[in-house]
Amino acid sequence: MRDLEHVALLQDPARRALYEYVVAQQRDVGRNEAAEAVGLQRTLTAFHLDRLAAAGLLEVSYRRLSGRSGPGAGRPAKLYRRATSEWSVSVPPRDYGGAAHVLADAIERSGTEAALFAAAHEAGVSAGRELEVGEARPKTQTPTAETDRPDPEPLAVAFERLIQHLDQRGYQPSRDGHSVRLLNCPFGTLAQRYPVVACGMNLAMLQGVLEGAGLEVGCEARMDARPGACCVTVISKTNKN
């Protein structure tokens, strides 16, 4: 409950919109840009951004946006970006993260990653099935003569639902040409301390989601590790036409 007052700041819709805008840019954002993007007055925007910074949800830096320096170069702009601190509220109190670290350690010590990846894949398939592909996807495993190519319309709908699902799970999906990059790692410190376990699990799970949703013909979840983002990218194979 300790973190409640930090998280509760996001209840205000204007403040939440500003926070989400700053976070989505993945870089420093100035007050004026944020105000314009959200459609809010500048002084009110500054008030909200500073409240978020004071609460540790955003971090502040100062930089001259013009690139000039020295006397007469102008005042440095105040810039905001997502803070690295984590805040969470669970009612009643829960410590799934703490348990996850111990479980990951056990997987690593016992060398049982294969079992974990299999379980993660199945969990992903279940989640993917719930994305409601619709009638285009036959429930059988093997394609029949009448259903050898899924109808593109429901596929597009399923793809949108996939993006929504990824967003809800905290991956922060962002379209980039024929790919969907995942800008946030939802497993935070778990992926820092147990990267092979967490990232292998993540890939297996996302591959399962695509399969469960009937999207694995047109899309692929691939390991694409880079600093500061999720290790998986979803590649769209059919858009190459």
Partner: protein, 168 residues
């Protein structure tokens, strides 16, 4: 920030016991991917050096422990540089599949330690550091990614650090 040349670099040594001979079909994807991964290491920020067995482009011919265990051995500018290469590059996908190629080992199989910048450690030194980790657990002499230690304070800076600590 001023460009500070680090006084110490980070050495890494890790071992693996293949599940089958290196020329077997099962190890093929690992062996085929080695050149690309080694090239990636060399291009990655912070790379300093990697061990290669004489006359070859990789370390797989070396057998410093027994007839089967192969090794990987290198030096990087910092823990963060090495970590980014190992876990936040194409190398991660290699690691993800390690169970296909290497047996699970119960004892520590990867050790990190600080070396003076410019010093290329010997294989004997690497083996000793791994043994140190296995005997004593993580210490400033031999540690892991999860239990890291800071580099020793450079001798030229030590008097300044002492003075700062005394006035604090």
């Amino acid at each position: 920030m001023a460009d500070v040349t680090p006084a110490y670099h980070l050495a890494v040594f890790n071992i693996g016991r293949p599940v089958a001979p290196l020329d077997s079909p099962q190890l093929r994807p690992f062996m085929d991917g080695l050149d690309a991964i080694n090239a990636l290491a060399e291009q990655s920020p912070g790379f300093v050096w990697r061990y290669t067995a004489e006359g070859t482009n990789n370390a797989t011919a070396a057998r410093p422990i027994d007839g089967e265990i192969i090794v990987n051995f290198g030096v990087w500018q910092s823990r963060q540089h090495l970590w980014d290469f190992v876990y936040r590059s194409q190398h991660l996908d290699f690691l993800r599949r390690r169970r296909d190629w290497f047996q699970h080992l119960d004892e520590p199989y990867l050790v990190l330690w600080w070396v003076p910048a410019g010093h290329i450690p010997s294989m004997d030194e690497a083996l000793a550091r791994l043994e140190c980790l296995r005997q004593d657990g993580p210490t400033s002499e031999a540690f892991t990614f999860r239990e890291p230690f800071d580099p020793p304070v450079a001798e030229s800076v030590a008097p300044l650090v002492r003075a700062m600590n005394e006035t604090a």
